[in-house]
Amino acid sequence: MQHKNDMIAWTSKKLRTKWLTCFFIIAAINVIRCEPYIPQAGSNVLEKIRITAFDPAAHGMHELRARLTADPGNISLACQFTRLCIERSRSEADPRFLGRAQSALAPWWDEAVPPIDALVLRATIKQSQHDFTNALADLDIAVHSDPRNPQAWLTRATIFTVLGDYPAARQACLPLAQLTPGLIALTAVANVTSLNGGAEPACRLLRNALAANASASADEKVWASTALAETEVRLGRVLEAEADFKSALKFGRRDPYLLGAYSDLLLSQGRAREVVDLLKDETRADALLLRLALAEATIVPQPATLQTHVATLKARYESGHLRGDFVHQREEARFTLQLLNQPREALKLAQINWQVQHEPADLSILLETALAASDPSAAKPALDFIQTNHLQDVALMNLSEKLNHK
C-alpha cells in the first residue's frame, strides 16, 4: 500500500517536471518558429560579422575585395584574397567564405592549367568542399609542373589521408618533409603513420616534434597537438589525450576541429555537461552544434534548448539537400542515429558517406549504424578496411566485436 502511494507520488512529481519541460519546449519551439518582425530598437544587434571587432584579417578582406573588383585579372591579389577567405572559412567554420574564394579565382576556375598558385588554391577549395577527385586531378598537374610546391604536397597528403589511401599519403609526405622540414610535415607524416599500424611511433614523433618546435606558429601547434590527442584516443589513453586537448586549447585558438575532437572524447566518457560548457556559444558551426545537441540529449533533465538545437540541425541538413549539397553525410548520419533515432536511415547516410571518405570517424559511424540497424553485412567494408590497414582504434575494436557477436 505504502509502495503504491510512493509510486503515485513519484509519478506525479515526474509528471510535474515533465509538464514544465513540455511548456518550455513548446516555448522554445515557438521562438524558433519566428515570423519576420521589426526589431524593437535601432541598437539591437542583428548579426556579428567578425569574431572580434578588430579582427585584422576580416578588416583587410573588404579592402582587398574592392581592389580585386577593380582589377580582377590580378592574380597575386586574387590569391591573397583567396587565402584569407579559406582561412576565415576554417576559423569561423563558415563555408560561405569558400564560395567567396571561388569567385576570386573566377578568371582561372575553368582553365585546364592555370598559374600554379591559383591551381593549388583551387584544389584546396575543392578539397574543402569534399570534391576530392577533382582536387586530386588539379594537384596531379600542380606537382607535375612544380614539384617544389609544399602546399600542393601537403594538400595531396591530406586528401589521401582522408580517402584512406595511406601509401599514397606517405608518398606525398616525403617531398613535403624535404621541402619544409618542421612541425607541419611531421604532423602530416604522423597522421598517416598513426592510422596505418604505427600509432605508438606516431605519438612519440608528435611529442618530440612539439617539444622541438616550440617557436612554430600557434596554428601549427594546435594541429600537431590535436593529431597527438586523437592518436592517444585511438590507443585508449584517455588521460593523456585529455591533457593534450587541453594544452591545444591553451594556444588560444578556438579551432572548430579541435573543439569537435575534444567534445567527442568527453561524450565518449559520458561527460556531457563539460561539452555543454565548452560548446554552448558555438551554435553557428554545424559540427559543433551537433555535439552540443548530443551532449544535451544525455543530460537529465534535458535542457530546454535541446529541441531548438535538434530542429535547427534538421533544418540545416534539409536546406543543404534542397541546395543540392551533400557534404554533411557523416554528421547527418550521426544526427539521424542518435538524435532522431532512425538507424536504417542513418545507415544509408553512413554508407553514402563511405563512398566519399574513409577517416576513422567515417568508419565509426558506419559500424555504429550497422550495429544499430542490426545489419552486420553493411559493416563489412569498414571491417575489411581496418584489417587491411592495421588501423589501431579501441573504439572501433569494441564496435567490431559487438558486430561479430550479432
Partner: protein
C-alpha cells in the same frame, strides 16, 4: 483523493505532449552555406512575395556595417534600406507572358532563421495581369559567390512549387495554374478553420474558459466535477454560447450592418482574454462560464469579421461564404475542444491540474494577453507571435 493509475497518467502525458507539439507547428529554414529564400505568392488578384537575404551576404554585396565595428544593428540595416532594396530589384527580374513586371518593395523586416538574422523584403509585383507563364531571373550574390543558391517557393493558387537558382540556372519559367472555380463555401470553410487555428488570441480565450470547465467552484475552492457528463455538458454550454455569440456579430459586421474600428476590436479582444483568464484566479464572473463566453463571444465575432473582410467576400455568394467561414471557425474550435476535453477530464482530479495547470496556465495566458493588449493599444510589435 483518488488518483488514476500512474500508467494512465504517463500515457496521458505523452499523448498531450505529442498533441501540443503538433499544435505548435514550427517552420524553420536554415543553412550554413550562402543561401537566400524567395517566396512568390500568385493569386488571381496579385503577385506578391518575400525575400529573405542573409545579413552576412548583404554585408559583402552592399555594405551594411557602416561604422565598421564588426556588428550589424537594426539601425544600420534600416539606414541602408534603399541600397538593399535597389540591390534586390536589380537582381530579381519577373516577366509574365513576356511582359516585364516591376518589383515594389513594401517593407523591410528581420527574421531569425536558425543560423542568424536575415533581412526580409516584402514586395508586390506590379504591371502583370494574371499571366499564364511566369519567368523569374535571379542573380543575387553570384558575382561574389558562385556557391550561393536562391531557394524559391512559388505558391500559385494553392499549388506549391520549389526550385533552386544557381549560376547555371539563373532564369526559370513556370506555367501558372488557372484558378479552379470551386464553391466559395469550401474555400471559406477552410479559411475559417485556419483562422481560428492561427488566431492565438481566440484559442487562448477558449482555453481560459475551458480550463475550469471540468471543475466546479465550491467553498472558495475548485473541485473536480464528480462525473464526466456534467463536465462535458458544461464545456458544451461554453462553446455553444461562444459560437452563437460570434456568429451573430460576425454576420452583422460582415454584412456591413455594424462597423467597429479594427484597433479597438483587437485591443478589446486582448482584454477579454486577460479577463477570462483572470477570472480563473480571482472569480468575479460567478460561475456562469457560458455567460462570459457569450458576452465576449460577441466581441470576438467582430475580430473574425475583419479577417473575413481581408479575404474578400464574394458578393454574389454571400450566404455561402459567410456560412462556410462560420462553420469553419466552429469546426476548428471543436477540434481544439476535442483535443483539450479528454485531457482535462482525465486530469481534473489531480491536485496538480487544479493548482498548477489551472493557475499557471491562467497566469501565463494573462501575461501573454496583456502583452497583446499593450501592443494593440499602443500600436507596436513586441511579441514574436
Amino acid at each position: 483523493m483518488k488518483n488514476f493509475a500512474p500508467a494512465l497518467q504517463l500515457r496521458c502525458f505523452y499523448l498531450s505532449l505529442f498533441i501540443l507539439l503538433l499544435l505548435s507547428v514550427f517552420q524553420t529554414r536554415a543553412h550554413t552555406q550562402s543561401t537566400s529564400y524567395v517566396t512568390f505568392n500568385v493569386t488571381s488578384k496579385n503577385i506578391s512575395g518575400e525575400w529573405d537575404l542573409s545579413l552576412r551576404d548583404l554585408e559583402d554585396a552592399v555594405g551594411l556595417d557602416v561604422n565598421d565595428d564588426g556588428v550589424i544593428t537594426w539601425a544600420e540595416l534600416l539606414a541602408r534600406k534603399d541600397a538593399v532594396s535597389a540591390y534586390a530589384i536589380s537582381q530579381l527580374h519577373v516577366r509574365g507572358d513576356g511582359q516585364p513586371g516591376s518589383l515594389r518593395i513594401k517593407e523591410l523586416l528581420v527574421d531569425n532563421l536558425s543560423d542568424g538574422n536575415y533581412a526580409v523584403l516584402r514586395f508586390d509585383v506590379e504591371g502583370l495581369e494574371q499571366p499564364a507563364k511566369l519567368e523569374l531571373s535571379y542573380n543575387a550574390f553570384f558575382d561574389i559567390d558562385p556557391k550561393h543558391r536562391g531557394l524559391l517557393r512559388l505558391e500559385d493558387n494553392g499549388i506549391t512549387r520549389l526550385a533552386v537558382f544557381d549560376p547555371f540556372n539563373s532564369t526559370q519559367t513556370f506555367d501558372l495554374t488557372k484558378e479552379v472555380p470551386h464553391s466559395p463555401f469550401l474555400t471559406f470553410l477552410i479559411e475559417g478553420v485556419w483562422h481560428i487555428w492561427s488566431g492565438y488570441d481566440h484559442i487562448l480565450f477558449l482555453l481560459a474558459l475551458l480550463l475550469p470547465g471540468v471543475l466546479l467552484r465550491r467553498d472558495g475552492k475548485w473541485q473536480p466535477v464528480s462525473a464526466a457528463r456534467p463536465a462535458f455538458v458544461n464545456v458544451l454550454k461554453i462553446v455553444t454560447a461562444f459560437t452563437l455569440a460570434h456568429s451573430i456579430t460576425l454576420s452583422l459586421a460582415a454584412l456591413g450592418y455594424v462597423h467597429l474600428p479594427t484597433r479597438l476590436v483587437e485591443s478589446a479582444i486582448a482584454a477579454s482574454v486577460v479577463l477570462a483568464a483572470f477570472n480563473n484566479l480571482v472569480p468575479f464572473f460567478a460561475e456562469r462560464g457560458w455567460m462570459v463566453a457569450f458576452g465576449f463571444g460577441l466581441l470576438h465575432g467582430f475580430g473574425f469579421a475583419n479577417a473575413l473582410r481581408d479575404l474578400g467576400l464574394h458578393n454574389g455568394q454571400l450566404a455561402a461564404t459567410l456560412f462556410g467561414f462560420n462553420l469553419g471557425v466552429e469546426l476548428g474550435q471543436l477540434a481544439i475542444v476535442a483535443v483539450f476535453l479528454p485531457l482535462a477530464l482525465s486530469l481534473r482530479r489531480l491536485l496538480f491540474y487544479q493548482s498548477f495547470v489551472l493557475r499557471f496556465g491562467s497566469a501565463a495566458i494573462i501575461v501573454i494577453a496583456s502583452g497583446w493588449f499593450a501592443e494593440r493599444v499602443f500600436d507596436f510589435k513586441w511579441l514574436p507571435f
